[in-house]
């Protein structure tokens, strides 16, 4: 009994693992069964055998290309969101007046929701919106610049809704890093950039990986804005539109499930790569020693 406990302790198993149970039970009961049902459904298409839905997806270029379209939209958006948050959050670590206001304002877009964002983009960036009006009246452009109902509209909406997420997370992760480490690096002759590059960034990297994954997932499953400010039959025909189409327009649930499963798979590949890379990083405490 005790020997077993010792052996288990060495492998890291003890009563603390019980803390996992509520979450695990929850996911098992409410997710796994319905999910397997959905996956099962994707293998029971109306025609074409077990893999019919998948075959249809991959043989129909109009469906297949949605993978590329989605990635082209979500990868740059997620990347931009994360990368832009880092320098901004980094600048905002110290104390300065108005910091709280600035942070709050940066976080406000979280509350916008897709609809207001979409409406706002259509109004603001539209052909007669304030933006184009300003360009025209200042003579910066002689015809309205088209920024809505195409790739850029969706991209902007992903940035507006995704950036605050990323910023909030990055700022929080950043503030968990012991500031005395940067000081130590400074006394060792590291300038601002090197301190950031060699000390802060590596300690922040695991958080960045997670942030990237979360914003990527949000961007990848973009749906309403792809329809509202995008070009849903062309440049912004993302996978979720294809899935939605199959499920709610054609009521072809097997195909819809297949598309959704493929969406999950593509996301999993990207996230797996990122998290795999994260596993190679240092992920422990970010304290520098005592105190």
């Amino acid at each position: 009994m005790v020997a077993l406990r010792h052996r288990l302790a060495e492998r890291g198993i003890d009563r603390q693992l019980l803390l996992l149970i509520p979450a695990a039970v929850f996911v098992l009961l409410l997710f796994i069964y319905p999910f397997l049902y959905g996956v099962g459904l994707s293998f029971q298409p109306v025609e074409g055998g077990a893999l019919g839905a998948y075959r249809e997806f991959f043989t129909d270029a109009y469906l297949r290309d949605t993978i590329g379209t989605t990635l082209q939209l979500s990868l740059p958006a997620a990347l931009l969101n994360v990368l832009a948050s880092v320098p901004i959050a980094y600048r905002m670590r110290g104390r300065f007046r108005g910091k709280r206001l600035l942070t709050t304002v940066l976080v406000v877009p979280i509350t916008l929701g897709t609809v207001l964002t979409a409406q706002g983009l259509l109004n603001f960036l539209g052909p007669t919106g304030w933006f184009n009006r300003t360009l025209l009246s200042t003579g910066l452009a002689d015809a309205p610049v088209r920024l809505t109902n195409n790739y850029w509209g969706v991209f902007f909406s992903l940035v507006i809704t995704g950036f605050p997420f990323a910023f909030l997370l990055v700022l929080s992760y950043l503030s968990g890093i012991d500031p005395s480490l940067e000081r130590a690096a400074a006394t060792l002759g590291a300038g601002r950039w090197q301190r950031f590059r060699r000390i802060t960034l590596p300690l922040l990297a695991p958080g960045l990986a997670t942030t990237f994954c979360l914003t990527f997932v949000l961007a990848f499953s973009v749906f309403p804005s792809a329809v509202l400010v995008g070009d849903p039959s062309g440049t912004t025909r993302v996978m979720s539109i294809a899935a939605y189409d199959a499920a709610y327009v054609r009521y072809d649930y097997p195909l819809a499930s297949a598309v959704a499963v493929l969406m999950g798979l593509v996301e999993l590949i990207v996230i797996g790569a990122v998290l795999g890379w994260r596993a190679l990083l240092y992920t422990g405490s970010t304290a520098g020693g005592k105190g």
């Binding site: 603390q16 996911v27 409410l30 319905p34 999910f35 959905g38 969406m263």
Partner: protein
């Protein structure tokens, strides 16, 4: 107060603040144009609407009986945020701190609900919930929304927990704190920035989650997003301004929630670091 070294802004700093400023301009434009439109009578090819009115608000308020909807939304989001933090943080803790066989598999399991679009599992999930009498009322909406929220909390919190020095927990145990007390008294305060961030994300997701909410909601457990979605994408004629008004209502509600959240949790915690020293 401490004398500050003169802040000579480097080009990099200018760039960063420039980008922030551009973002703010964009944000102001986006929000402003919607708000202006929602209180305008007619707005054609001009800088500002020709007249002002509040009838779009009155109209959407009546059409969707928004008061009960708002209350339901508040209840649902509070419950979802609370429960998912309660369930998710302990799980994240174990996943961040411990290594045990099957950890990676479990992590993957927790990741799936975030990755999978609700289309895959929404209808069977609703069926299950209806079968056991959970759907069609508030509990169903809450349960369904928890499915992606709990994993979301887990994923967000893991790096936060990794950052905390384990010695602090050990010290608490030596003071006689059991696991629950370590959580409540030590980890939670240290994790406040993380929990706050995660809660806000979950809140936004929940308030904005149409599919699962719609599939499991009963007639008196609709949330705001269902109304909003309707005004946005339903058939029929709807003035742009009334959509704008709905969007503004939605946003104000989120803003109120955010402010409330920041009220109950010390707002400086969101940005201040616990270990803040000197300057």
């Amino acid at each position: 107060m401490a004398a500050r070294r003169s802040i000579v802004a480097t080009p990099a700093a200018w760039l960063v603040w420039g980008v922030v400023a551009a973002f703010f301009v964009m944000l102001a434009g986006v929000i402003g144009s919607v708000v202006v439109s929602s209180v305008g009578t007619q707005w054609f090819d001009t800088w500002l609407p020709t007249g002002w009115t509040t009838r779009w608000y009155a109209q959407s308020w009546d059409e969707f009986t928004l008061l009960p909807v708002l209350i339901v939304t508040l209840e649902v989001s509070a419950l979802v945020v609370g429960i998912s933090v309660l369930i998710g943080v302990p799980a994240a803790y174990v996943l961040a701190r411990r290594s045990f066989p099957g950890r990676r598999l479990l992590y993957l399991l927790f990741l799936l609900p975030i990755l999978m679009p609700p289309i895959t599992y929404g209808i069977p999930l609703a069926t299950v919930l209806y079968k056991y009498g959970f759907a069609g009322n508030l509990s169903g909406v809450v349960l369904a929304n928890l499915v992606p929220s709990v994993p979301f909390v887990i994923l967000t919190m893991t790096p936060f927990i990794e950052q905390i020095d384990p010695a602090v927990e050990r010290a608490a145990r030596m003071c006689g704190a059991n696991t629950r007390q370590v959580f409540v008294r030590i980890l939670t305060p240290l994790l406040v920035p993380g929990i706050l961030a995660a809660s806000i994300l979950v809140l936004v997701r929940t308030v904005g989650m149409f599919e699962l909410t719609f599939l499991t909601a009963g007639p008196d457990s609709q949330t705001l997003v269902v109304a909003l979605y309707y005004s946005m994408s339903a058939a029929g004629i709807r003035a742009q301004q009334s959509i704008d008004a709905m969007a503004v209502i939605y946003t104000s509600m989120m803003l109120v929630l955010l402010v409330l959240a920041l009220r109950f949790v010390n707002p400086t915690q969101l940005v201040a670091r616990v270990r803040d020293e000197g300057d």
